[in-house]
């Protein structure tokens, strides 16, 4: 199963200040361990929210809001995508990460089997497929 690990922003990350060399080295070593264990599928650090934007949806109305955004602790500053055997394993890996403060969140990624459970007869998939076919034939016309 896969987990996304969401690293939250802090003052420094929002100010665009890069972590010092010691932390970068420790993080590099941790990433290397993840790769060697076959756990790491992907991972990226994100630029401050001042370089981002939001689009707010309200019925048909779409409003663009430029960053930065205020609620620093709720912002995402980076992520990993991990492949592990269990949630507990993801937790144990995360405990080994070289963070000194803040909270890091683990979220499980949906897999095909999860959809199969909520769609035991395959009826929803079937409808979607038919809809897709219809759209395709319309586009051709």
């Amino acid at each position: 199963m896969r987990f996304m690990v969401l690293v939250k922003a802090n003052k420094d990350s929002e100010a665009g200040v890069l972590p010092d060399e010691k932390i970068l080295t420790a993080m590099g070593k941790f990433n290397e361990e993840l790769v060697k264990a076959g756990v790491m599928l992907a991972g990226e650090g994100l630029q401050p929210s001042s370089k981002g934007a939001r689009v707010r949806f309200d019925g048909n109305k779409k409003t663009v809001i430029d960053g930065p955004f205020a609620e620093t602790k709720e912002l995402v500053a980076g992520f990993w995508l991990w492949q592990v055997k269990s949630r507990q394993e993801a937790i144990e890996w995360l405990k080994r990460a070289p963070f000194q403060e803040g909270e890091v969140e683990i979220r499980q990624v949906f897999e095909t089997a999860d959809f199969a459970e909520s769609d035991p007869t395959g009826e929803i998939r079937k409808q979607e497929d038919e809809l897709r076919k219809k759209m395709e034939s319309q586009q051709r016309r």
Partner: protein, 459 residues
Amino acid sequence: MTSSAAHRQIEAIFRIESAKVIAAVARMVRDVGLAEEVAQDALVAALERWPESGVPDNPGAWLTATAKHRAIDLLRRGQKLERKQEEVGQEMDARWAAAAPDLETALDENVGDDLLRLVLIACHPVLSTEARVALTLRLLGSLTTDEIARAFLVPEPTIAQRIVRAKRTLAEKRVPFEVPRGPGLAERLASVLEVLYLIFNEGYSATAGEDWVRPGLCEDALRLGRVLAELVPPEREVHGLVALLEIQASRLRARIGPSGEPVLLLDQDRARWDQILIRRGLAALERAAALGGEPGSYFLQASIAACHARARTAGETDWPRIAALYELLTRIAPSPVVELNRAVAFGMAFGPAAGLELVSDVTAAEHAGRKANEGIQYDENDIHVVDDQKQAGLGAYQEQRDRAQERQKGAQNVEPGGRPVVGQEGEQGCTHRRDDQDRPYHQRAGVGHGRSPRNRSSA
């Protein structure tokens, strides 16, 4: 923390650490069976102590030290002393003394080599293929015998016995715990790659069924492949295999239709392909290509899979390139299935006549002719393009699985004709029907290219 939560935590830690613990102890005692035993003892000790004392700062070092102490105890107590003392007694004491002051550093430095030795010995050619598969999942994949048994749909005691026998064979044959040099290494690695490939295939061919446990084998194989790619010296085929598995795995969600029926490659909704795995696969392929040297069979198969992965629509597939790659593959790994695929690819690239020209085998001609005439009926086989020996190995697993499935399903799952359903053919048409079993493996309807007419619902 409740005791069951503590146990789950300790078991998760053990899963992360166990291969490294076994590998480190095996280097010391030169006995994989004993190493695995004492690693289990260390787990038991952790389950007893950690809930009270808390998890130590470096749980891996704690488990390894505990396992080593236990091994020394066992050896000293003489249970295995006579057999082993001369071999390892003094050396072990010296190593232990040397390692003790700075155990962590010693562990870090050696862990890669130890793991490589462990994977090589688990896949040693003195063992049968099925023993290698079980031992690899047990020692490197940290699966329990129960998990392996469920994945392969065989009774748990069968797997337990298989592992016990494998360990005994390694001890009896005095297989050294080492990394051979030069051509010896390439040969041993080939055996490892074959095992990972078989594990992956076992999961891959199962995904068209109802059982969602076994596709976990694809993940296990991929993870072990990724681990191996970091362990070994630059070796093209290792990255080639990883590339192949990543790209094949990227299609797992797309190859089953709404009612569980297999969807052939060219009919798949490419939006459902996993782009992360495709990117990883293409990166592994680049890594393999950069290493240079003669392209091996996995590298070529991965290159073919990559052609499909790069095409945004089935119509954009680079068939001339695929045909050229199959041409190379026929030279280094010829088999009826490869020949047939080459013919199909030539047919797709240069018209049906070009494909037919290449087909000499009468049966093959029949299939390919039909396929070429149908135009877009090509059915990618690159995961199953293997030599006959590998297919025989795969066939043996599938037969076992089919029998087990029949036992499990009993009378519930019977077709109107009264015949038990023994599995559905996947995109690769890998599983087969019971009435095929008397024929040579590669001629069975389900192998490689073939789909029997009544299984064409997805076309």
